[in-house]
């Protein structure tokens, strides 16, 4: 069985974001990058499945971007993926979902994976499109927003998170693609021995332009801080001062403190 996990490297969401020169996206300088949180669940679920099947499946982890994404790839290898594909694209920030999906599909088509795991969305772009687009381009069934996953004999039983705490159960036959929601499992931390072992695992590099040259279907502009709508007060200072101020405000503005 061949499994593909698609991961993205994104900035730490607690960063202070500034627009790049053309305001199409953020300025990358001074940002610390890490694996997209949704993708951590995708990696974990793939590794759990490999364990369930006695280690038989081979897991390939794939990421698109400049050399910095190799750090995220190495983490996935240390967690238990077997081999990696780095699709080199220095201008990854200007690639929109259709282009990213076309690149992944161009690679995946040549291998014929049985199962593809992706996060349900990225934390930075949040389009929730790439996974489903890859499945459509490959012509395989897919389902999204998994909070439960089971596999047996070529059949995936997926539990989808719907609104209001309701869940929906779906069955689909492999080859298939699923997108993972937060909370699907408990992502493990890589152990030191596994980090060392991961160093010997193979990372194959492709150039994005050799796989797909689809033009973009959308353009991006005016990356900005949202206009502040609220009339909220921002308080800064020492903890003691802040506590005093907050108590005064709560007594004044709410009926809950006497």
């Amino acid at each position: 069985m061949k499994i593909l996990v698609c991961i993205k490297q994104v900035p730490d969401m607690e960063s202070h974001f500034r627009p790049n020169g053309s305001a199409t996206w953020f300025d990358e300088s001074d940002l610390a990058f890490r694996m997209n949180e949704y993708d951590e669940y995708a990696v974990e679920e793939a590794v759990k499945l490999k364990e369930q099947l006695g280690g038989e499946p081979e897991i390939t982890v794939l990421s698109i971007g400049p050399d910095r994404v190799i750090e995220a790839i190495k983490k996935a290898l240390a967690i238990g993926c077997d081999r990696a594909v780095h699709i080199n694209e220095s201008a990854v920030a200007s690639k929109e979902p259709w282009q990213i999906a076309s690149i992944i599909a161009a690679y995946a088509r040549s291998i014929q994976f049985d199962l593809v795991f992706t996060g349900m969305q990225s934390q930075d772009r949040g389009s929730a499109q790439v996974g489903v687009l890859v499945a459509e381009l490959l012509g395989i069934p897919s389902t999204t927003t998994l909070v439960g996953f089971a596999y047996a004999d070529g059949v995936v039983t997926a539990t989808r998170e719907l609104e209001g705490g309701v869940k929906g159960k779906v069955r689909l036959k492999t080859p298939a693609l699923v997108t993972c929601q937060l909370g699907l499992n408990s992502p493990r931390y890589p152990t030191l021995p596994n980090i060392m072992k991961a160093r010997k695992k193979e990372i194959t590099t492709f150039q994005a332009g050799d796989l797909s040259s689809e033009p973009p279907l959308t353009g991006s502009s005016s990356f900005r801080h949202p206009e502040k709508k609220g009339s909220g007060v921002v308080l800064e200072g020492s903890v003691d001062e802040l506590v005093e101020k907050v108590i005064v405000i709560l007594k004044d503005k709410t009926a809950v403190l006497r």
């Binding site: 969401m13 719907l162 005016s222 990356f223 949202p226 921002v234």
Partner: protein
């Protein structure tokens, strides 16, 4: 502009979100038609064309088949814009339709100007404009971003059918877990977010809730990490609350969390990130380390 709105139907009834599709259509202007996999017994009041698919025949979740049926409606209407709600139904189906038509998709739209759509990014801390470069486009609109509008009239119903084979088998729904903590009735809710750092620090937030005489809530990451059970979760997949006072401790403020608490009477947020989106709804944002500020506030109240 010609719009094709995609309504939602679940567990045998039309969902209220269709009113938000009408709200969006009225705001952007244009001729709207609706596509709905639902039932002739429960159609929205509306004075345009309704392309209806019998959910009894084709299932409430059956993406490959719903896609083919929606493409039939697209062929008939020839819309400029196909509009979904950004929901578990919409974000699942929209990219399939966009891929088949090979047109642009813009996800989780919160506004528009000219031909550009405003969307959030970077966990809603930032915004940007996305402009489709194809003549048709697919969009999903953020739940709650456009005011609900009750439409009037009786739709002209056109029934669609297909013999396309299904690729997924829908097995059924699991109801929401029973809520052992009733946050909705609490006058004060003090919630813990990822900013508390680790499970043990839940107790720091619980102590503040106690000092206020309120209930303990939590944001999704805290529940996903297993630091507290789901019964405490505030947000669109947890409970919706509107207490007199809501205290958000180390919660950045995802759209889903804000949807569950923004109607609170007074919102006090504590966060070390001054740009955190919780600041958009907070009456007071205290820029501080939660683990220093909260114990100090608790001591003062006790």
């Amino acid at each position: 502009m010609k719009l094709l709105l995609v309504g939602e139907y679940r567990e045998g009834r039309l969902l209220d979100t269709s009113a938000e599709l009408f709200g969006f259509a009225a705001a952007i202007g244009g001729d709207a038609s609706i596509f709905l996999v639902g039932s002739a017994e429960d159609v929205p009041a509306f004075s345009g064309a309704l392309y209806l698919v019998d959910a009894g025949l084709y299932g409430e979740y059956n993406p490959e088949v719903h896609k083919q049926l929606l493409l039939k409606a697209v062929e008939e209407v020839n819309p400029d814009l196909i509009v979904f709600i950004h929901s578990s139904y919409g974000w699942d189906l929209a990219p399939r339709v966009a891929a088949s038509l090979k047109v642009a998709q813009v996800s989780e739209v919160i506004g528009f100007a000219d031909n550009a759509y405003e969307v959030g990014c970077c966990n809603a801390k930032m915004h940007r404009n996305v402009t489709p470069s194809t003549s048709k486009a697919v969009i999903t609109i953020q739940a709650g971003a456009f005011p609900a509008l009750q439409s009037e009239g009786t739709p002209l119903v056109k029934v669609l059918s297909t013999d396309v084979a299904s690729t997924t088998e829908f097995l059924g729904y699991e109801p929401a877990e029973a809520k052992d903590v009733n946050l909705a009735k609490a006058e004060i809710v003090v919630s813990a977010g990822r900013g508390i750092g680790k499970k043990e620090n839940i107790e720091v937030i619980r102590s503040l809730a106690k000092a206020f005489g309120g209930e303990l809530g939590a944001s999704r990451p805290v529940v996903d990490a297993g630091w507290i059970d789901h019964g405490h979760q505030v947000g669109s997949t947890g409970q919706t609350v509107a207490p007199k006072l809501y205290v958000a401790c180390g919660i950045s403020g995802s759209i889903q969390h804000l949807a569950g608490m923004k109607k609170s009477g007074f919102i006090l947020a504590i966060n070390k990130d001054k740009d955190a989106p919780i600041g958009e709804v907070a009456d007071v944002l205290v820029v501080a380390d939660v683990l220093q500020f909260v114990p100090a506030l608790t001591a003062k109240l006790s």
